[in-house]
Symmetry: C2
Subunit: 167 residues, 2 copies
């Protein structure tokens, strides 16, 4: 979900600006791991995710709805999200999916701590360590924190997912 | 979780008695599917699970804590629970696990809609349809609603899990 279906990075940029009065450019985060994305206050930023509403109000990533709708017609799709670390996020993520992806059924949702438990034909994820343990084809969804990895098939946005899996 | 780690059947029997004044014997439920376990009011019983606190206050199944603790020392254990149908249950199940199984880490928890997405070496479950799609060894945990199934390895309680997986 985060930084694949949802624009988690954008949400952090917005909250950072509100809190510290500085608008950080998305490009400045390239090649940086999660806890070093901002010029300062990275520990404070990490606390944003525990705030009520953080996940519920996440912007939707561009083209994710239209491409997911088509994927869902061709494949058995599951949304697998690391949610267990943030207890608030459980209900917020469920409500977010119901609002923005109403064509998906709750049977398709998986909230977990560690993604090594799931299997399938394809996994699309922004974190290489989630992909590393997957049995099927691994697809890295471009995000600022994964620009430094070159060992995986990469998609730059949802239109490239469409190209790869629906053409 | 339900009817494996947690005594969901016992929780329903208690709530039924409180609501309708009749204590239903656990044995009378043998061979009955979920929606026909009680002599009457089965639709009302199904609504119990949507009540706040239903999952949070679930009794712990006998011997589940001590055996799970040992399993957790020998195996990579995941708790996989169908929770998505009942939005309240998400946070309640997480809190319940943290209270009664404090030796497990949130990385070991999976709340899903459909268990066909998980894989592993062994699955212990009370519902044959969850086991049917599993890649590894399938172990049916005895519950009133599964007495009629004879095609799977069966364990009658947690001491038999210990016998099977820890001896």
């Amino acid at each position: 979900m985060d930084d694949v279906l949802a624009d988690a990075t954008g949400q952090l940029i917005n909250l950072y600006e509100k809190e510290f009065g500085v608008r950080v450019a998305r490009e400045s985060m390239n090649h940086r791991e999660d806890r070093e994305k901002f010029p300062a206050h990275n520990e404070a930023v990490f606390q944003f995710v525990f705030r009520k509403g953080f996940f519920r109000s996440m912007p939707v990533n561009e083209h994710s709805q239209q491409v997911m709708k088509k994927l869902n017609e061709k494949y058995e799709v599951f949304i697998v999200s690391s949610a267990m670390e943030f207890p608030n996020s459980l209900i917020e993520k469920l409500e977010w999916l119901n609002e923005h992806f109403p064509f998906l059924h709750w049977k398709q949702f998986v909230f977990c701590g560690k993604k090594s438990i799931v299997h399938g034909d394809y996994m699309i994820d922004d974190l290489p360590h989630n992909l590393d343990t997957f049995n099927g084809e691994k697809i890295l969804f471009t995000a600022p924190h994964n620009m430094q990895y070159n060992h995986l098939t990469r998609v730059n946005g949802w239109l490239e997912v469409e190209q790869l899996l629906l053409k």
